[in-house]
Amino acid sequence: MAEIRNYTMNFGPQHPAAHGVLRLVLEMDGEVVERADPHVGLLHRGTEKLAETKPFNQSIGYMDRLDYVSMMCNEHAYVMAIEKLLGIEVPRRAQYIRVMFDEITRILNHLMWLGTHGLDIGAMTMFLYCFREREDLMDCYEAVSGTRMHATYYRPGGVYRDLPGTMPQYEVSKWHKKKDVDRMNEARQGSLLDFIEDFTRRFPKMVDEYETLLTDNRIWKQRTVGIGVVSPERAQQLGFSGPMLRGSGVEWDIRKKQPYAVYDELFFDIPVGVTGDCYDRYLVRMEELRQSNHIIKQCVEWLRNNPGPVITQDHKVAPPKRLDMKGDMEALIHHFKLFTEGYCVPEGEVYASVEAPKGEFGVYLVSDGANKPYRVKMRAPGFAHISAMDEMVRGHMLADVVAVIGTMDIVFGEIDR
C-alpha cells in the first residue's frame, strides 16, 4: 500500500487573499487544513531601527506606514509616548481633533476590513460599496493634512494645524459633467466640520445597507458562523486585542479601561461577541462602525463650540508661527533648532498605547536624553493575531483559511514593521 502523505501547499505571498505578503505553508488532508504555518517578514522595512537614527519628530511619518489603513491611530501612540516623556500638556481642542480623527480612522479601517473580508468570502460588491464611503473620509484626511493616506498630522504637543474652513471641490472634467460635479460638491460647500457632520448623518444608512447584504445572508452565515472559534480564555492567553478579543466576549477596550485623550468625556458603547467566531467578530466590527460614528458626532459638536489653540505654545517642541519668525529672533532660532537638531527628550522609558482599529497598538520608547530615541518598539496587534493562525484554522477547510485571514484584519505593514 502506498504511503498516504499530506499535501503541502504554499499559500502566498502572491495570492489574492494573502492581504499583502502573507505566506502560509498549509499542510492539507484533501481540503482540510492539518497545520498552518504563517511566515512573516516579507515586508520588513526596519522601522524601529530607522526611528532610532532620526530626531523624535521626524519618525511620525514612519508610523503612518506601519498599519497603512489606520494611519493616524499609529501616529497617536507615538506622539503620546513622546508627550509623556516630555511631560507637555496638549490643548483640549487638539485632543478632540485627535479623537475625531482616530474614529474616522477606525471607520476607514473597518470599511477596508469589511470590503476585503467580503471579497475573500466572495461578496465582491461589498468591496466597492465600502470604498465609496472611504473616499469621503480620505478627503477629510486630505483636507487637514494634504495627503490622503500618510498624513503625519499629529505632532508632539497637538496637531499640525487647525481644521480648515473649506473643503476641496471636484472640478468639471471630461469624465464629470457639471451636473454630477454639483451633486458631488453639495456636501463640500461648508467647512470640514460641516462635511464630517453630513457624513455622520449619511453613514448609519450606509451601514444598514451593508448589513442587508451580509448580516442575514444565509451563505454569509454559513461561511462565518462557527469558523475560527477562540474561547475568551484562549484569546487572552494569545495576546489578542481589539475586535478579536471583544469578539470572544472579553470586555476590553483601552478607550474605556485606560482612557487617553478625551475618551472619558465621550459617550459610546463597546460591543462584545458571544461565541468568538468569525460572525461575532463581524458583528462587533459592524457595531463599532456605528459607535465610531456616534463619537465623531460628539466631537464635531464640541469642536464647533470651542475654538482655541491646537498645538502647544512651547516652541521648544512645536514650531512657532511662520509670521513670528519674520520679526522675532527667538522664533527664528526655535525654528532652526527644531528642524535641524530637533529636541532632546529627558532620560527615561515610556509605554503609550491606543486602541487602534485592529487592537492595542503600543509604542515603547527608551530615551537616553539625546535628540533621538535610544530604542523604539512597536506593539502591533496583528502580530499576536497572526500567531494564532494555526490554532484558528486547524481542522477547517481551505476556504475557511481565507475567512480567518479576513477576520483577523491583517495588514503586513505593522506585522513586519
Binding site: 489574492p16 468570502i121 466572495g122 466597492l128 451563505i219 481551505l398 476556504a399
Partner: protein, 369 residues
Amino acid sequence: MFELILTIWQDAIALLPDVLQPFAAIISKIVVILMPLIICVAFLTLAERKIIGYMQVRIGPNRVGPRGLLQPFADTFKLMFKEIIIPSNSNKFLFVGAPLITFAPAVAAWAVIPFDEGMALSNINAGLLYVLAITSIGVYGVIIAGWASNSKYAFLGAMRSSAQIVSYEIAMGFALVGVLIASGSLNMHEIVVAQKGSVLNWFALPLFPLFMVYFISGVAETNRAPFDVAEGESEIVAGFHVEYSGMAFAVFFLAEYANMILISALAAIMFLGGWYSPLAGLGVVSDTLFALPYIGWAFDSGFHWLFFKIAFFLLMFLWFRATFPRYRYDQIMRLGWKVFIPITIVWLLVAGVMVLAEIPPWFDKGGLS
C-alpha cells in the same frame, strides 16, 4: 424577409453537386447558429462587466470604442497575441486538449435547441437526452485541465469541480425528468409545443420547484458565483485554469459563457415556453394588435421572445454574481444532495399525480397519450 433569405439559400444549395448538398445545408446552418452565438458570448462578457459595474456604483469598461462597445475585440486581440505558457511538468497533449474538450460540448449542445417553430439544426427525438449527455462531457475538460497542469491549485480546482458537477448533474437530471413527465416527450420541439396556449400553460407554474432547482443547478454547472468554487478566486486563485494563458485561457472563458447562454436557453425552452409570447393567448392584448404589420410581429410568438427570455436568465446569472458570497465546497455538496435532490424527487411524484389526474390548464389535453 425570412422567406426570401430561405429561398435564396435553398437555390444556392441546389446549385451544388448532389453529393455535397446535405453537407452544405448542415454546414451553413451551423455557421448561422455559431456565428451569432460567438458574438453573443463576446458581448456577454462586456455586458457582465458593464452590468456588474453599474451594480457596484462604477461604470465598467468605457475606453475602447463608443461606451466601451469594442472592448470584447480588444480583449480577444490581447489574448490572441499572448504566449500560451505550457508548464514544463505538464502533460502537453492533455494540457492543450482540455480547453477544446470544454468548449466543444458547450457549442455542440446547440444542435438541438429549437429557436422557433421548426427552426433547429436537428430536431431529434432524444433531444433532451442529447443535451444531458453532451453537457456532461464539458466537465471532463475541467478535470483534465486541472490534472494536466500538474499544479496544486489547479488540482484542487479539478477535484472540487468534479465533485460538484457530479452532484448537481443528478438534481438537474431529475428536474428534466419532471419536464419529460409533463410534456410526455424527449423532443425539444415537442416540449415547447406542449406549453402552447398562454403564460399559464408554461411549465414554470406546475413545475415551479423543478424550475428553481434546474436554474440553480445550472448556475452550479457553469461554475458561476455563488458556486464558483472550482475557480474560487480568493481561495485557489483561478482553480483549474490557473496555469492557462493566452488563447488557451480564452477558450475556457468562451466555454463558460457559451454554457451560461446554453443553460439560459434550456431553462427558457423547458420552463418558460421557448419562443411563445407571454402576451399571446391571454386575451389581455386585443387581436387587432397582433394583426398590425410590425407591432403584431413583435408581440406575437417568435424567436425574439426566446432571446428575451435567455437575456433575462443571463441577467440573473450576473445579478447572483454581484450579490452573493461564495459557498464553501462542502456546503455546495450539502445543498445539492440534501436539499435539491429530495425536492426534485418529491416534485416528480407530484408532477406524476398531476399528469395522471389531468389537472387543467396544463395536463387536461390528454396528458400522457
